[in-house]
Amino acid sequence: MLTLSSLTAGYGPVTALEDVSLTAREGEITAVLGANGAGKTTLLRTVSGLHRASSGTIDLGGTRLESVAAEKMPRLGLAHVPEGRGVITELTVEENLRLGGLGRGGRVSAADLTRIYDLFPVLGDRSAALASTLSGGERQMLVIGRALMARPTMLLLDEPSLGLAPRIVAQIFGLVRTLVREEGLSVLLVEQNARSALSVADHGVVLNLGRVVADAPADELAGDDQLRHAYLGF
């Protein structure tokens, strides 16, 4: 379980997150929704240690994270999947995956790779290709697969639907759902595409200008017309 309490973070004089508290429960998908500039990406970057909070606490299953360095997160079971651009294009598909596995510490076995190739057969077909040759959807699968290589308990997903065709988005969200159901993975999903995100999530949190404006089960949020019109744009 990931719990953020009164988290405040910013860039110089600009406050990006103000007094944000939320919980991502175990074995659930928690969606963080909001428009551009709502603070969604800053939220993920702060949790994964790329950005420092100015106050507040972050707790992952009893371990405090707010002053842990980003490179230590994989060992604590936290994996941050940056937007699809986060593939290292100069490395091959397999090298990207191996790198993900190394984050856990220890060596990467063939079984680890096979597991990912079973989940994403297209990656298996293209394992020796440079990541720069992948399509947008394939890149998104690669960054998710790479995060799974470290066998995380908590997955942070940043805008997995960005720039992808609806069919691919559905495929990726379906897969995330399966992982949660079958492997007990917990997911904190940041999305601008609120409709798709709420269709897959268990719980939703809406951010506006760095503050939490709603925090409720996903179907409740989807049913609240006023909220949808005001913040979610559908």
């Binding site: 860039y11 600009v14 990006a16 551009n36 500039g37 709502a38 603070g39 969604k40 990406t41 800053t42 970057r45 950005h51 960005l162």
Partner: protein, 360 residues
């Protein structure tokens, strides 16, 4: 409005001329009151100051870096040496300096044209290559340029009117080393007044605009290439004048005087003195001229041999240069284009939420 601008400009010019006059008085007092040996040192400071002044305009005002100014000085020095082959030469020194400036200006234009497209490490590497390449030319054309031994520079006799004037003003005979110091410092004052006026005027504003933000400068209708090349040419011209004064001072133009070390030393001078100001360049030149003997004495009293102690000075410049960049980068390079780029990149990398708004 136009009247006011003209008035302001006239004020700036008046201020520069006033400072020049004060400088001239100080120079006369100092030159007359110190020994011949010290006057030779003073002449050295003049040529370092002129070259550093030119470099500071290029680096501080226009944001370009040159490691090739030692090579440009060599061109000025060799031009002077070729024009002053023996005592029969009746060419006035002012014409020799102008010729050195002209030749260096042409070379500077060529280098500047090539360099205008480059930035940062590429520009540094290219000008570094220039610094290493130029001495080889003197070695290759042994017949004309004297090879390893170099060319002797024979200073013409001091003109009678100068001797008379000097005697009239100071009441004593003008020695040759005093004369050289005067020539050097007069040149420095003229060069600095010209550089200061250029920097304060339209040209300088364009240079700074290009340094601070290429995109806005281009949008404002400034031709980036022309601004860069003109800055390089002006800077090269100053280096040419410096080379001429060097030739007059050491009475020799030889490859060994124009090593990479000279170019790096000039860079050290402007970093030490604070990038971007002519006063800083002068301070840097003073440090380069007078620090070595101080440092050498300190080294000797600390138990180093004479030979070792003599090598301490560059070590000190280098250490200070490193320290300045590490401890006070904003104070010295803060005004540079780089600083603007840095803040731009920081904004880009640390606040994806704000940039994403424009991206999608």
């Amino acid at each position: 409005m136009r009247d006011r601008i003209t008035a302001v400009r006239r004020n700036v010019l008046a201020r520069h001329l006033f400072l020049a006059l004060v400088g001239l008085l100080v120079v006369v007092v100092v030159v007359e009151s110190i020994s011949d040996y010290r006057n030779t040192q003073l002449a050295s400071m003049a040529y370092l100051g002129i070259a550093a002044g030119g470099l500071t305009v290029l680096t501080g005002t226009n944001g370009q870096l040159s490691l090739g100014h030692g090579a440009l000085m060599a061109i000025g020095a060799y031009t002077s040496a070729l024009l002053l082959p023996d005592s029969d030469s009746s060419l006035p020194l002012s014409l020799v300096i102008l010729a050195a400036v002209a030749v260096t200006l042409v070379v500077g234009a060529a280098v500047g044209l090539a360099a205008a497209r480059l930035h940062g490490p590429y520009l540094a590497g290219a000008t570094l290559a220039l610094a290493v390449a130029v001495p080889g030319i003197a070695l290759y054309f042994k017949e004309t340029l004297g090879g390893e031994q170099g060319l002797r520079v024979v200073m013409p006799d001091i003109p009678v009117w100068v001797l008379d004037l000097a005697f009239f003003v100071t009441g004593q005979d003008l020695s040759r080393s005093r004369y050289t110091a005067y020539v050097g410092w007069l040149t420095l004052i003229v060069v600095f007044v010209l550089l200061a006026n250029l920097s304060a005027g339209r040209t300088g504003r364009r240079w700074r605009a290009v340094r601070d933000d290429e995109v806005s400068a281009e949008l404002a209708g400034i031709d980036l290439g022309r601004a860069r090349v003109s800055a390089f040419m002006v800077s090269a011209a100053a280096a040419g004048a410096a080379g001429a004064i060097l030739a007059f001072t050491v009475k020799l133009a030889a490859p060994s005087a124009f090593t990479l070390t000279l170019s790096l030393t000039l860079l050290a001078a402007i970093v030490l003195g604070g990038l971007g100001s002519l006063a800083g360049a002068l301070i840097g030149a003073a440090l380069l001229t007078f620090l070595p003997s101080v440092v050498t004495d300190v080294g000797r009293s600390a138990g180093l041999s004479d030979i070792q102690a003599a090598e301490l000075a560059p070590l000190v410049y280098g250490l200070v240069m490193v320290a300045v960049i590490l401890l006070a980068p904003a104070g010295i390079v803060g005004s540079l284009r780089g600083a603007v780029q840095r803040s731009a990149t920081t904004r880009r990398t640390t606040s994806p939420t704000t940039t994403k708004g424009t991206a999608s």
